[in-house]
Symmetry: D2
Subunit: 356 residues, 4 copies
């Protein structure tokens, strides 16, 4: 019941601090005989990696993942798959000044309150660095989902701050630019925005869209472990996420029943306001999820705050930070959706065979 | 692993179909010596009860809850608390026509696909009737939270369709009108809207806001069982919910870091964009949650659909339905927040004593 | 996390006190389309029922079980199955004297220490009465196991005190005598023993053997949720059980490796010292479990003890008790084995399909 | 729900194969501020280490454990504690002959049946090597239990085959001889026995006793997660264990109620047949557990068996094996008891504060 495990039949248990020896995790419950290699995981890790472009943090991490167990002769054995990533570029001195002063919108304060003290180096356990292992584990889930159902889990940046992507939509384009934008025409505007933020020492939020195509019907365990409920949890567990929407999301509240309902025909549904989930169970349509991420909390503008003794002070966060953490969250969100779908695929199989 | 239990140290396991013998649940892990009676639970059940006003379904249910175990001489014993509500007004004939035809936006289709067949009477397990037991269990959590921390969990309707409540805000008013509106001046507008929908045989969505005041600091188990993650799951597990926001929610994505961050002073935070949660842990500020509910799926307007044989047909849903299911979801959402907070209070106590 | 749920994919959550309104439970995760009725459950309940013979407690309980949900038109729907048994013969006055005085070998003392107070009527939650619901739930598992794999779970009394059953072994005989003895020739000796104990106001322990035949190979989740580990837990969770053995059990410690190992041939194993489990996984041979139950703690011989104030006193337990609780534990132990096997069958299916 | 995690509030998730890169685990839920170092863990690991005496396997492993996370400036932070042990002496060639032929009493056969194929090197995941990480994690639990309650968890060899230790009992002696015997006078007899077994190429079973002194009262979650039930599971999850007894164990079945019951006096209990647990809850007396381990399955005597194609063949297990695996299981059993007690201490605290 400790909080570092997610999933029921397919689980990821995660460990590691931003500037500790290493981060890693254990993937348990993976079906045997899945072809998997460190390279398969590295692809997504590289998409998330810091320092991959000038529009993200300058921190350099190789983020080379090792598989320590559970894979034999290139295939999963059904036993736990241990993943390990060593921390190579941990510059503690960048962070020593935050040992006693609390950074606003960061977890420094609550970790001290909850645990009595904390590993303050680079945010310790609260650092988004922890999500690297989610991406590695998610790559296993993505591969299994695709081989089993041809289900494909992909995401993109739908909004940078209040700038929405345009009409041009090309999945291929998503990995061709540092913004994970499916619309190439918007890139210059995004670049301009980020450059301005860097100049201002400020940051901005973002909205991501994650989609699962070729979905099997029947995944989800009512009434509490609904598929959408577990997706909401998985997404909200990502650093900086403040809102989760399924299908039409918040806007559904303004709809009339006569316009919102997705009409069924012998040839399928005529719309997908539901985002692929009815009554907590996948209906075979694409799963569509939108998440909102708050702006990076670490910015270089000095600000008033308090220290451990609850005394007034000011802080100016040094270190290397993304002007928009939302951008690199794309592969993380894909991973969380994939992990949730795979867990539910196995859960459904336990009770209902594998009907898909 | 089956999906009908929520919580880790404080759990609710739920059962029951809309038109079966009864619905009920088992609350496990409740600390002993809490004064509790059926009447305490009935208060919230009555707030949710169908037929409580002409603006909700005409279905009449006494929804009288019985406590079958776990309470002795008026106090909890620490053993499982069984809750039972008999179904008194189950008019199956109202629903017999939907045995073979799938209602759009309902779970009929996915239940058949997942389980092979279903209890079609009144939506069976997928009916929102199941949420009555969440409200009863939530009342236990509400009482414990208040006695232990003076934490108060309350909710209100913030939007009916696209109509927002006005500036007038009075918690007392919330339970004085059938809309759970804190603003009495908007009631006539709401009444007019609902009456128009009834005339049109249509329905509409709604947005609710749930707040927890006097929160202890330190609740939440990073990295996966973050408090906001578990709240998101609890809320998304409510029928018809399509979006969940914590604090500033989706709008956080448009903020600059310099404006979004909640500045800390010796006297407390200067704002609460975070909605009371940082790094997945409560920071002592009010927890603020917004949820969006889609319009009632059952409306009297005939619509094209398919039957079990996947043949084209039409359906006109009879029966008694709320023009806006969102309204009565207020006590349900309060219950889900209370259940989540109490579970996390006990989880935190297990690892970190009870520092609050 | 609370302790009243057992299983992972197939779960039983139990509630109820000996002299409360009712006892019951929720079975979750059962595959749909299993034909089941209250009568199917009643058969085993009647085998366990008190007052079924003069060799067991004189307490009379109809133990009529109701199915409140999860079964529609005679088949399971895949939703939670709620089971309810009302307490009809609760003579509290029989127990009022134990409100303040602790009965030796009973849970009175520890419940007061753990929870601060307790429902003292008839032992409250600690009463073996709670096991009735395990038997009802176990009957569902037994039926599913038989229909799915032809696996048959049965048990018998192998020893009453130090009196072992003889060579005569007939499964048919087990349900023909009040001792669940497969050997009819030993009955007179058992009757004599029980009658003597009643005269002496004393009680005695027993040893039971539970067997699962026609087992699928591959059930069990190393390394912690081994099949034998979960069986050991399930058995030790039965009131009065003090020892659990798999296969040759404790005696294995005296074996030489050369004699203990079960040799494999193309026609199968040549012996079954392992009791059907290797490395925590079923090997297709019969599962063989032995459990030892301590003598009934409630006997009419007066004894020294302490009261709530830790003062010296004496107690003479009135009420109606089995001279040997072990006898009626046979259907309970069968149920616990069946619940464990079914849970593992579903868990295995989640990861490895259903190879059996 | 995959099987490689044990515990609810205090959990160990384990990974690793005998001859893979490494074995390790993640300990989650540990309270913060516990002083812990790799050296603290190494002490128990060294007690278990192969090659520590000529009476155990000649395989040499340094078994040096690293702490990768969760400990900062010498104290636990409340975040996951990752433990890693690299495999240094993996001689795969010793085992290549068992790739296709099944060793009797080993898990080779069932792993192939369950998962389709297996890492056959040194028994892969089924090897007792995996237990090293349990010992490392158990050392954390032992330390916490002692600092919190002065609870001390220790074990010893009570029988080697059918040779019981004598009357001489000295806890200090246990770690002074390779047999974990508290009785030094029996050592020559044990040495003679082991030497004879080595000459015969045979092996033998053993019985261990594990004791927890200075126990807090109130640990255990009826009705399923009883303390004795979880102890039984933890013990039965150890390789080669075939029987578990609490207190008087199997022999309780031959007792009369009048002799078995532990009489309570103002000065405490007059006996401890219960082994420190009543109704599944610790009563403050010492927890006493006995476990029986089967003889080492790997012996050098050739034996008939089958291969993957189910064809008749013979096998003669090479490699370096303990003549009695039971001996080195002592620290493993201590670890499993400590892990279970700590988990229950935290679980009890969640619901009932920390009364002890």
């Amino acid at each position: 019941m400790a909080g570092n495990t997610i999933g029921k039949n397919f689980t990821l248990t995660s460990f590691g601090e931003s500037h500790g020896v290493a981060i890693g995790g254990i993937v348990d419950g993976c079906p045997p005989n899945l072809k998997i290699s460190a390279e398969d995981l590295q692809k997504d890790l590289d998409r998330r990696r810091p320092g991959s472009s000038r529009y993200t943090t300058a921190r350099r991490e190789d983020d080379k993942v090792e598989i320590l167990s559970g894979v034999f002769e290139g295939r999963t054995t059904g036993t736990p798959i241990a993943l390990l990533i060593h921390n190579t570029d941990a510059r503690s001195q960048d962070y020593s000044d935050i040992k006693d002063n609390y950074r606003p919108s960061h977890a420094d304060f609550v970790y001290d309150k909850k645990y009595g003290f904390r590993d303050y180096r680079g945010g310790g356990r609260a650092s988004a660095r922890e999500t690297a292992i989610r991406v590695a584990a998610g790559a296993i889930a993505k591969k299994w989902l695709y081989e089993r159902y041809k289900t494909q889990v992909r995401g993109y940046l739908s909004k940078l701050g209040d700038i929405s992507i345009g009409k041009q939509f090309d999945w291929e384009e998503v990995n061709n630019n540092p913004f994970f934008s499916p619309d190439s025409s918007i890139i210059p505007t995004f670049e301009q925005k980020i450059n301005q933020l860097k100049k201002d020492g400020d940051s901005i939020g973002a909205t991501l869209t994650i989609v699962a195509e070729n979905m099997p019907c029947g995944l989800g365990e009512p009434v509490f472990d609904r598929l959408d409920a577990d997706i909401a949890k998985a997404m909200m567990s990502i650093n900086a996420v403040k809102g989760v929407e399924i299908g039409k999301g918040m806007a559904s509240s303004e709809d009339l029943g006569s316009q919102h309902r997705d009409i069924m025909t012998p040839d399928g549904f005529l719309s997908n306001n539901a985002g692929g989930i009815l009554g907590g169970i996948s209906n075979g349509q694409d799963i569509i999820v939108h998440i909102a991420l708050k702006p990076t909390s670490s910015i270089s503008q000095e600000v008033e705050t308090i220290n451990k003794k609850r005394e007034k002070t000011t802080i100016k966060v040094k270190g290397r930070h993304d002007p928009c953490v939302g951008i690199r969250a794309t592969p993380i969100a894909e991973a969380m959706l994939a992990l949730t779908l795979m867990d539910h695929a196995l859960r459904n199989r336990a009770q209902n065979y594998d009907l898909a």
